[in-house]
Symmetry: C2
Subunit: 223 residues, 2 copies
DNA sequence: ATGTGTGAATCGGTTCACAGCC
DNA sequence: GGCTGTGAACCGATTCACACAT
């Protein structure tokens, strides 16, 4: 399976569009990071063994995961670093930036706004939004805080595609609803609350208290 | 199975110590949060159906999960809120505080230090640590930043049990090693890097870039 | 009648092991 | 000989469905 068999008269490159397991999707960014390291080392090729070691998984899993993207490896050799990087970036949709809006500019929201880690990696913080009229107009870094009502305009005019919820728990669902109705279909929720979204909208959550409580459970058990 | 059969002459209350699946452990904090809400509403009893709705899972899962803690429900009635809260807190090790040390007081570290969400929920930020001599001695809120070398003393004298890594990726493994050798066996890693720890040490990771990239994948696919 | 507790069926994901290709 | 790609076996977790307790 060296080259994909040329489909009969297909006008533009048909994307594979295989169904990729959720667990695999969650690991792709980790492989991407590993590949970038390998690239930085100047290696032109890399084995599943090596990638596995760098990503903290086993080699069989790497091979199976990568096989969902297509047959991009060479038997007896390994994976071409550049080529795999290209495919991975394409698959993850990282060929262009995804502007982000942060909603709720309290302690955590400000921190996320200042945190460089977003912009670096293709997720520039395009806007900050808060429901508190007192905060609207204030600046964090060089971005002014806007009213919640400006969400639809942000989506329309700035192409904001991802919403980050950093409000108190009580406001989270309301904010999510407004994000969705403004046309945002990817949400990252930091509020310690259950948020539900319609089908077709992606939702990920990060709950620091939950993480600490999980650690507490195992710590407790050890002693 | 109303009462656990009395074991022959066991001197002190034998904890159940059943093996609890990892996936279940990760949901216990969510049930806890839901229970606290139910308690606040003044309900004295709650069904698996209701808890499921609040936690965003289905009722069968709630029942199975709770059954790992013991048979704390009453058929035809539901779960006693207070009693279940007590058991849950005990199981999660939340009957006392777990002091936390944050390592790496850059943007993210400072944010986490200021973020109230930790202390409120039984995880007081007991200390801040940074490798940069320039930062040592400075204060964030009312906590002074200490040198990395003070980690063993923090564990010994202040009972710090959980380490939070908020350093750049390059320092993460080194910091983890120092936390472990200082006697810390629960680590929450925010650095975008693979960190490995010896058996017997718990490690959870939160990688914001990874979360965004996962969202990007699905966003990409939709369009 | 109601709602838990739990075996049994099912499902998604991981690991094994080897055929296939370089 | 070396390393990928992938069916098959396996494993943990989820869901089903119902016996059982109140």
């Amino acid at each position: 399976m060296a080259l994909p068999p040329p489909l009969p008269a297909s006008p533009d490159p048909p994307r594979p569009r295989r169904r990729i397991p959720e667990a695999t999707v969650a690991r792709l960014p980790v492989y991407l990071r590993s590949l970038l390291e390998v690239e930085a080392e100047g290696q032109t090729t890399v084995s599943s063994e090596r990638l596995a070691e760098m990503a903290g998984v086993n080699a069989a899993k790497v091979r199976k995961d990568l096989s969902y993207l297509g047959s991009y490896g060479t038997r007896g050799v390994g994976y071409d670093v550049e080529y795999l990087l290209f495919q991975m970036n394409r698959e993850l949709g990282l060929t262009h930036d995804w502007p982000v809006v942060i909603v709720g500019i309290g302690n955590l929201g400000q921190a996320l706004a200042n945190y460089g880690g977003f912009g670096d990696r293709g997720f520039p913080v395009a806007a900050l939004v808060d429901a508190d009229p007192q905060r609207v107009g204030q600046k964090v870094g060089d971005i002014a805080i806007q009213d919640v009502d400006s969400l639809p305009a942000l989506v329309r005019d700035q192409g904001v595609a991802i919403g980050v919820i950093a409000t108190p728990a009580t406001a989270a669902q309301e904010v999510a609803d407004r994000l969705v109705s403004a046309g945002i279909s990817s949400i990252l929720n930091f509020a310690p609350a259950l948020v539900t979204v319609p089908a077709g909208v992606s939702l990920r959550k990060v709950d620091l208290a939950v993480e600490l409580q999980i650690l507490s459970f195992y710590q407790q058990r050890r002693t």
